[in-house]
Symmetry: C2
Subunit: 373 residues, 2 copies
């Protein structure tokens, strides 16, 4: 294997694929990029067995020659060192050459690196087939769906199913739901695929794909065992999470006698100030509502107390007090991406709802906590 390649384009491909590669692995081959060159161009693959990324570059793109002087072949090259070397070189082009199968030479006009390499036959077999339901999203919509739901998933592996986003669709009406069992975010979205299906996609891969994708569109393929994200010259393969996603509909109250509408940013600022004294009490603040008063307060025996009145609000309902984890409410308000936000309460110890007055595609539910003062 030998090729000379545009350095910055090569760096972009390596950086993308590197997202799948871990710092450690029980399988040493997984610490490498698998690099293949042929008439079809360059293919770079990386994997940690859960997520696999494959990204490619053609020999030329229009008039631009991307790859020069190539000899077909493949090799496994240390991801950590190859990425750092390609990043640090300052030439426009770099030459990669395998010398007697176990050494790869990376060089430009002045720098020469020789890395110990492995044969590509030592790379584990990966199932990189593409099949199952196909759904196309605009990248903007995809990123919005992920940003409005992913934060509500669990980050703990105790119940793995809660580290997934549940994606189900029927007749084109898709639903994305994430919950850590204390809060829930549910996004409704219309898709072109009219089939019925349901799957649990790891939040981790959704966040990574959302960060990586800079194309206009993204295509998702869902089969029984895996999900594939396809954008530009890149494919991201991920396992799914097994198990039944909890029936979240019973977390959602049906009627809300107490309804507050406030400016999102001013309400967040006030909660952040009041919660300064709530640090040692698990970030819990109390919201006191009445027809002419909206007040946020916190209290800590050791530190002191804080309270702030909200000056502008619309409120319907009687007197009620609700205590909650301030970060859950701030996350929910930010996710609504809306100038004003509506908080709807069913009672002091019932779950409450956060919605936008101008967009009914996102419903968020938060469980309150018992108030101690």
């Amino acid at each position: 294997m030998k090729f000379t390649i545009n350095r910055l384009r090569f760096l972009k491909v390596l950086s993308t694929v590197n997202v799948a590669i871990g710092q450690k692995s029980p399988t040493p081959a997984f610490l490498n990029f698998k690099i293949e060159i042929s008439n079809n161009g360059l293919i770079v693959t990386g994997s940690d067995n859960d997520i696999t990324i494959e990204s490619s570059l053609p020999i030329s793109l229009g008039d631009e020659k991307i790859i020069l002087d190539y000899i077909d072949g493949s090799a496994l090259i240390s991801a950590k060192y190859l990425l750092e070397i390609i990043r640090r070189l300052d030439s426009d082009e770099v030459t990669i050459e395998v010398i007697d199968n176990v050494i790869v030479q990376i060089s430009d006009n002045k720098s020469h690196f020789q890395l110990n390499a492995m044969r590509s036959e030592e790379y584990p077999d990966l199932d990189l087939s593409i099949l199952g339901e196909e759904i196309v999203f605009s990248t903007d919509d995809f990123k919005k769906i992920v940003s409005q739901t992913a934060f509500a998933a669990s980050t703990r592996e105790v119940r793995p199913i809660l580290t997934a986003i549940n994606f189900k669709s029927s007749n084109g009406n898709a639903e994305f739901v994430a919950t850590d069992s204390y809060r829930l975010a549910k996004k409704l979205y219309r898709i072109d695929n009219l089939n019925n299906f349901e799957t649990n996609i790891p939040v981790k891969v959704l966040n990574e794909v959302s960060k990586l994708n800079e194309e206009d569109d993204i295509t998702i393929h869902i089969s029984a065992n895996k999900v594939v994200f396809e954008f530009g010259n890149t494919k991201v393969f991920s396992r799914l999470i097994n198990g039944d996603f909890p029936k979240t509909s019973r977390m959602i109250p049906s009627t809300y006698p107490f309804v507050l509408q406030v400016n999102s940013n001013r309400f967040i600022d006030a909660m952040q100030r009041v919660s300064l004294l709530a640090i040692e009490r698990e970030r819990i603040v109390k919201l006191s509502l009445d027809n002419d008063l909206v007040e946020i307060s916190s209290k800590s025996e050791q530190i002191g107390s804080a309270n702030e009145k909200i000056e502008q609000f619309q409120y319907e309902g009687g007197r009620v007090e609700i205590s909650f984890n301030v970060d859950y409410v701030i996350d929910a308000i930010k996710a609504s991406q809306s100038e004003d936000v509506i908080l709807s309460f069913a009672g002091e110890m019932n779950a409450f709802r956060v919605t936008s007055p101008v967009d009914d595609s996102l419903i968020q539910i938060i469980t309150p906590v018992r108030s101690y003062y």
Copy 2:
């Protein structure tokens, strides 16, 4: 005690004083700001017993009223909470009021905080007298002296004297020396004070003062037990480090048969590239010099090897090879703040010198390491 104060000016003073206050302390009073208000204005003090900072604000500054409606008094208020509260409020002015000696109320138009406080009598007695040798520096010169020497001091407490910068002066010829025993930076500087003195100032306080000071000048007072830095309305007091600073003159060779001059940035870039493969060998690279060749190389059994030729250089001397910790040499070249740099070698296992061709006030010495290949 009661006062209403311009919030941003108060925040600046608190942020400055907070630099002296630790996260933990065996003396609970040291986790507080000591705040005093009188006709003379506001004085805020913070300390961790090693470093003490006192910063003040006048009642008014020209036409600007900084402090309004004040009642004389003092209190100890939690540094962590007061600083965060003052930072997060969004009003122009904030009112601080002590209520029955043990509670302090912080409020603006809409937010109200009550913090548990302590009486100022519970603050330890600190010696805040100013005496000893007085030296005035322009702030630019002071920051340059610190940035050119402090990095060479030790960060380990095993030999406390090496965590100091040795500052000695005789007849106006001042010398600042820092060493971690593997490298040394010595800065020569002319001061107005013609007395003879020598002191060991902790690097930590020099770095903090260098960051804090935004005035044009800084005055340093050195006595037997402490150093005081005075700039604007702020005074920083620090203990000195006891013990004899090592006689560093014997670390410095007298003749250098091998002299290399190179472009600073290009030489740093080349060393950083080559050292990518030296990570597991304590960042050691080898410099090979001959009349027509300057080459940097590194080698690791497990990873591979790297080498790069320097294209433009001036060299006098014969063939020689020197191995060194690349970070020490990069630090030294950066500290020289010079487009080109001169590396002068006395032999393969002798300490070598890094200097600037245009500024002879800074001399840096680095110990090589034994080469293994």
